[in-house]
Symmetry: C2
Subunit: 246 residues, 2 copies
Amino acid sequence: MAGQDDATTTVPALLPLYAQVKARLVARIQTGDWKPGQLIPNEFALADELGVSQGTVRKALGEMTAEQLLVRRQGRGTFVQQHTPESMLFRFFNFHDAVGEPISPETLWAKARVCVAKPAERSRLRLAAGAQVVRISRVRGHGGRPFDHETIVVPHDLFPGLAETPEIPNTLYDHFQQVYAVTVTGGEEKLDAVVAGEREAGWLDVAAGSPLLRVERTMFSFDEKPVEWRLSVCAVANARYAVRLG
Amino acid sequence: MAGQDDATTTVPALLPLYAQVKARLVARIQTGDWKPGQLIPNEFALADELGVSQGTVRKALGEMTAEQLLVRRQGRGTFVQQHTPESMLFRFFNFHDAVGEPISPETLWAKARVCVAKPAERSRLRLAAGAQVVRISRVRGHGGRPFDHETIVVPHDLFPGLAETPEIPNTLYDHFQQVYAVTVTGGEEKLDAVVAGEREAGWLDVAAGSPLLRVERTMFSFDEKPVEWRLSVCAVANARYAVRLG
DNA sequence: CATCTTATATCTTATACAAGACTTGTCGAA
DNA sequence: TTCGACAAGTCTTGTATAAGATATAAGATG
């Protein structure tokens, strides 16, 4: 270790060195210093610049790769993870068909409005009273039949103009990243079962009283910052929600 | 690398050295050479014994820790992961109450029989025609009300005498490990929604036509060997199935 | 009770070679 | 000259090794 302020050498260091390095590198992605798809400097260059050894940088990069923030390719280099419609489907979408193949629904119809956030939405998205949100309502289909209805709520601050987008993209998170520089890093889903009321029956073309899977989803960006809240009701005639238990 | 047969040095090695080391260490757990809860030799002893460096052993142990096969404690040593009722609840049980706390259901009633496996069960458990299984039917409750009904099917070969166990344990996997030396390493769940029929309504004390969450679970031991198939229907009045999206 | 010792995992650095991917240079044929 | 094939070179990540410093836990000692 060479030209580094003494803070980390004198103080017992609250965090291991590799974790500090990781935090600094994550920050570069978070601030947009490094953009999605970009090639970042190699291990030796980073080690040199940060004043640590190559092995320490390697450990930081390894964890970031495990968290899907980076993609490393032998012989090529290290790149900032870039969302694509395909990758989003695999990462965050847990519905599979009878054979076990992931299903990819297409949008049947959608509409978006800017409104004042309701209390439940404010709580989920950690917004102040009176904050505005974009509320998207859409029905998606699969195999020629309606599959689910979603109500998607995002802060208007983060996504200005989203409501006026002529065609709401089918996969939103790559759009969020490309257009609004908001990277979705993870989230959580809560599931329960409901029976279709008149409204849901109309949306999904099923009989009232049919069983539906209800999925409540909250997605986060860096620092667990909530960026989307979504409530879906899904007709699970030919689909299963699949989870790997680790 | 020192005293090692030339196989790995001359041949380009089909697998990286650390992966070979890992495979050998996993095998020791799988065969019962190392038992759950046992303290295993430290990194230097293993490196010495296997003829590799300490760093290579470390990488293997690190992956095994990530897969929850081992538990490492600084200053203490490395131990083989041991299932307990509590740990099982956190690892494989995804139901939470309204506050987000994991719920812990108690068994209301259960019965077990030995039968010939049905085709669907044979397929899930990869059993030969005519193979016997133990089929457990039970209702579990939570907060004074019935929570779910489960049909659990396991190969009779693996768990002889399970059907005659006077009281089927509430958490099965730690029992599997302690009594039958079968370690459950992972699994998968597939969810959909159903409406309660007469039978389910009776089990769960809900009205017929109520929405229920149906969970089909297959659990695996080492080498993805299926050891349990389970079909549950859950009354989700005060419970949510929660999933972390990574 | 406080302190020392020991054993362990964890962290950091350093070096070397292997393997993959791209670039450049060389050579020969058309 | 132009094109293509092939070899060589170079940059990158991946793997393997070695050695030292630090943090944590448990037991022994005073």
